[in-house]
Amino acid sequence: MSPDKLVYQANQIAKFFHSKPHDEGVAGVAEHINRFWEPRMRRQFFEMIEAGHAGFDTLVVEAAAQVRPPPPAQTVPG
């Protein structure tokens, strides 16, 4: 998906969890991504986080450490 859209959706999740106590919010964002984001989305998410993409909400950046790394991308024969 487009990077902007991914950032937007991650930040939308963060906005909900901002009203929670900080640690709970961080855990909430991570859990939500773990439960609902398909590995491709998480893979793109990590690539963007690692590249230091500027658009992410601070809560998302903090939550990244608790997001489950996706399984390695499938190697497609041929």
């Binding site: 009203s19 773990n34 439960r35 491709r40 399984p71 497609v76």
Partner: protein, 956 residues
């Protein structure tokens, strides 16, 4: 199998506890106090002839046929209006009674075609039967004098009315009417529309619709209750007049909305003559709406595709092929794509129109056959936030009540739902309760019919700005908390106290007070306070909500806010209260229950749970992926990115029903194999490479689960017109993919569901046969199902209060797009209209209209009926305007039933933060006069036309 005859006891059941014993024609019978003699007799097996009485309606006592004699009493009282008393001795057949009945019937036929030896009706009505029963043989009154029967024979008969054929489904022949007023009472008491009345007095009395209008021009909603009630042929289905009475019937479940009405499909040969509401149906108790009752013609419409078809490219014409070829081609394409692009490059979409068993098989095919979790369903675009929100707050994803619960509600809150249009049979139940005095709060940007209609008036209509639900719900909570209206005992006993205190502190903040919030939600503060007080203190408070809550960027938050309100006021866990999502489609509840979501196995169990996966891994003999799969919008994104190439879509039209049509089209166009299984070449099929013909609900066995979690049987009344029922087609596809599936009947699929899903553990076709229907959870702790949930405790243990901070949607109005567009349904049409547009229902609604406030219209120089262009950031479309003050200034509204309108060209791809449910209910738009269809509409229509070409078969 013959015609199912339901016993008509003549008057409604008495709910009294005290029992009374009487003797009817020598037979003792014991009934509750308050029962009529007529009903008691029927229970004793003695049928008293009657005309104006039926057990769907209160007794009326006008026809003078049901008279009886009671020992020790004078005269011959009407049995329908005389209640039983202890020790009463009743005689229903005596010489005196026979003579009176015969005399009364003779008076009736003296002004009825049957007394004139004219055959105008079926000759098989209740009236005809009573005439035979009382032994009537003649009309001694002759044929002279005033009457309603003779058309005039050359002279003018001012009493004669020509038949009203205006309604497409039934006729009104006044000459056969006996003015028993059953139709009038059905329209008032059952349907609640008050469209019919009796005009004139004495001999001039007659039934009229509206202000003496044709039926179709009156406010009649064509629910069919009057036709069902009519004891003569005065109101009669046209199909019956044309083909005669049906010969056999099968009880099944309607395939339209989430009310899930039970019907008798009444047949003659292989043809459905009519759908008669089934009194034994626990969702509808014998009532119906225009869709379920009459709009089944799509099942035999000539547009149905009955042969499988394939094509190389979507620009090619379709080529008809055998099932074998279509399935083999599909299987080889899916395997090729997986080989070439990876295991996760394909997926499936289950249908909320199909049965539980069919839905279960599609997700099984994806999980077992494709080896991934890329399965989703149309609930993504409607009630996925309900699943998430109620799951978080209460621990389960479903409405808490049965429909009957509304009978004990004192305050009804309707939020973002329009039950009289979208869930009409339940809407009528709700109106019955409102007429009995229940109070009503409507929260909706638009003035729906419930706000003000005959004998119904909302105490509060909070016409908020679209997109501000969470702010409103939170400020209602503010009032409840700060004014001390919380049911503290309930909260302490049933909910997490710490979470409550945290939440209470949050909502009590001044920023959430009505006085502050009112400025941006557009609702006066005193109305907010009044509504909150009424809900919290008015007795049993029940919340019913629809897609006006869920289809927002804060949809899930709003669901949690609703859950908070119910907990804070103790309105959960008994009859008359609760939180009730009104489900859109017949089986959207079921499709969610059956594991259609990419992160959940059946019964809402997350895919990451090892124990749950193990159950299926053992049964299916494969390793299941423990990662969540792609949701519909993610599939389309992945398709555009190139990592998703094949999609199996059963009974779902994502191109028309999903947001941002351009994006959906781009995603579909990027795929290499799109398989559409449907009744018609729907809009999505324009982008398909394989078309598999679908089957209607009349052509299969199975179950649907309605909005009350009620599992209702769907029964086959005719053979599949395209060889396979949908579950069989999926099974054949699975076999073509190499899976060893051997179901011979859907009951075996249900057995597999029950064996693997705790909340369905005791569900079986045998149980459904015995009970009629059951509401899940249905297992050893609730062997006969669960009408009301969370009675002694929440499913998750203690209820959880969750902070619901309002975050304004990013879809904002501005100088370019100053108006907010919101969307909804109309009674006569259903969703994308694929079914209802192929019936006579188009008489009531043949195009989508843009509702606009007179002020906004005048500013733009728009007159009612003008073509207008509606443009948003995403796209533009044109339709005709309807000027009305149902919408507030600044808000416009349209339905989305017609493909050419394509309201979703305009909607954006903003979505709910938790579930990606699209924000259909808020789009910033500009409206301007226009000459006609937009370029896009013209192009689209041409593209659709070309993509629907079917190549003629080469001569063999």
């Amino acid at each position: 199998m013959g015609l199912i005859h339901e016993v008509d006891y003549g008057t409604p059941e008495s709910q009294a506890e005290k029992q009374v014993t009487l003797i009817v024609d020598g037979k003792p019978v014991t009934v509750p106090e308050g029962t009529s003699i007529m009903r008691a007799s029927m229970e004793a097996g003695v049928e008293i002839p009657k005309l104006c009485a039926t057990d769907m309606l209160d007794s009326f006592g006008s026809c003078r046929i049901c008279l009886v004699e009671i020992e020790g009493r004078n005269g011959t009282p009407a049995s329908c209006t005389t209640p039983v008393s202890e020790g009463m001795v009743v005689h229903t057949r005596t010489e005196r009674l026979d003579a009176i009945r015969k005399g009364v019937m003779e008076l009736y036929v003296s002004d009825h075609p049957s007394g004139w030896n004219e055959e105008r009706g079926t000759g098989l009505s209740e009236f005809d039967k009573v005439a035979t029963e009382v032994g009537l043989e003649e009309n001694r009154y002759g044929l002279d004098g005033r009457n309603h029967v003779a058309p005039g024979n050359g002279s003018l008969n001012i009493d004669y009315l020509v038949r009203d054929e205006s309604n497409p489904y039934f006729t009104y022949d006044a000459s056969q009417c006996i003015v028993c007023s059953r139709c009038v009472r059905a329209c008032e008491d059952v349907q609640g529309t008050f469209a019919l009345t009796i005009e004139g007095r004495g001999f001039e009395s007659r039934i009229v619709a509206g202000m003496s209008e044709n039926f179709v021009e009156s406010e009649c909603v064509s629910c069919g209750a009057c036709v069902q009630a009519c004891p003569t042929d005065a109101l009669r289905e046209k199909t019956v007049l044309e083909h005669g009475m049906p010969e056999r019937s099968v009880v099944t479940t309607c395939a339209y909305c989430g009310v899930g009405c039970s019907f008798k499909a009444e047949m003659k040969g292989d043809e459905v003559l009519r759908m008669m509401p089934y009194k034994g149906g626990d969702a509808n108790h014998g009532h119906s709406c225009v869709k379920g009752r009459f709009a089944y013609g799509y099942a035999t419409h000539r547009d149905r595709i009955l042969k499988p078809m394939i094509r190389e490219k979507i620009s090619d014409p379709w080529r008809e092929v055998s099932w074998e070829e279509a399935l083999a081609h599909t299987a080889s394409e899916f395997r090729r794509i997986q080989h070439q692009y990876g295991r996760t490059a394909v997926g499936g979409i289950t249908s909320s129109r199909c049965t539980n068993e069919e839905t279960y098989l599609v997700q099984k095919l994806v999980r077992q056959g494709f080896g991934n979790n890329n399965v989703d369903t149309c609930a993504r675009v409607c009630h996925s936030p309900t699943g998430y929100g109620l799951g978080q707050s209460y621990g389960t994803s479903a409405g808490t009540q049965d429909f009957d619960s509304v009978e004990e509600s004192d305050v009804i809150v309707v939020i973002g739902a329009n039950p009289t249009d979208a869930h009409p049979v339940f809407g009528s139940r709700m109106k019955q309760r409102l007429r009995e005095g229940a109070r009503l709060i409507v929260i909706d940007p638009r003035r729906t019919d419930l706000v003000r209609s005959p004998h119904v008036k909302a105490d509060y209509h909070l016409a908020l700005r679209p997109g501000t639900n969470v702010a409103l719900l939170t400020t209602l909570a503010h009032v409840i908390v700060t004014e001390g209206l919380v049911d503290e005992q309930f909260v302490r006993e049933r909910c997490e106290w710490d979470a409550f205190q945290d939440w209470a502190g949050f909502v009590a903040d001044e920023a959430n007070s009505p006085e502050v919030v009112s400025s941006y939600i557009g609702v006066p503060a005193e109305d907010i306070r009044g509504a909150a007080r009424l809900y919290a203190t008015g007795g049993n408070g029940a919340i019913y909500y629809g897609l006006g809550v869920t289809e927002h960027s804060q949809g899930s938050t709003a669901v949690m806010a609703i859950a908070n309100l119910a907990m804070a006021t103790g309105n959960i866990g008994r009859r008359g209260v609760g939180v009730n999502p009104l489900r859109g489609q017949n089986n959207v509840q079921g499709s969610c229950d059956m594991g259609s979501f990419p992160h959940e196995l059946p019964g809402y169990r997350h895919i990451s749970g090892d124990a749950t996966r193990a159950i299926y891994e053992e049964l299916w003999g494969v390793k299941l992926d423990n990662e969540p799969g792609l949701r519909i919008p993610n599939m389309l994104d992945a398709a555009v990115d190139g990592s998703f190439r094949g999609l199996y879509v059963q009974g779902e039209d994502i191109l028309q029903s999903d947001p941002d049509t351009h994006h959906v089209a781009a995603g579909l166009a990027a795929m290499e194999c799109v398989v559409v299984q449907d009744l018609f070449l729907n809009e999505t099929a324009n982008y398909a490479h394989v078309f598999l013909p679908g089957s209607t609900f009349l052509e299969k066995d199975g179950t649907f689960t309605n909005a009350e979690r009620r599992i209702n049987r769907v029964r086959k009344v005719m053979e599949p017109k395209a060889r396979y029922a949908d579950w069989e087609a999926t099974q054949e596809l699975a076999r073509a993919l190499g899976l060893d599936w051997n179901y011979t009947h859907p009951s075996q699929i249900m057995d597999e569901i029950a064996a693997t899903t705790p909340s369905f553990a005791n569900v079986s076709y045998e149980l459904l046969e015995k009970m009629g229907s059951v509401q899940w959870p249905c297992n050893d702790s609730a062997p006969e199902g669960t009408p009301i949930m969370h009675v002694d405790g929440f499913v998750r243990g203690k209820g959880r209060f969750i902070r619901t901070e309002y975050v304004a949607t990013d879809e904002k109005t501005g100088p370019r797009f100053p108006l907010l567009l919101t969307t909804g349904r109309i009674l006569s049409q259903y969703n994308v209209g694929a079914q209802t547009r192929r019936t006579e229902n188009v008489v009531w609604h043949d195009e989508d209209r843009l509702e606009i406030h007179p002020h906004d219209a005048e500013q733009r120089g728009i007159r009612s009926g003008d073509w207008v262009r509606v443009a948003s950031r995403a796209g533009e479309t044109t339709l005709r305007a309807l000027i009305t003050d149902r919408v507030s200034p600044g808000v416009v509204y349209t339905t989305f039933h017609h493909p050419l309108t394509q309201a979703n060209v305009v909607t954006t791809d903003y979505s709910d933060w938790a579930t990606n449910c699209p924000e259909y209910k808020v789009t910033a738009v500009q409206v301007a006069p226009s000459n006609g269809p937009s370029d896009w509409q013209v192009e689209y229509e041409e593209q659709a036309r070309r993509s629907r070409r079917i190549a003629p078969l080469a001569a063999e």
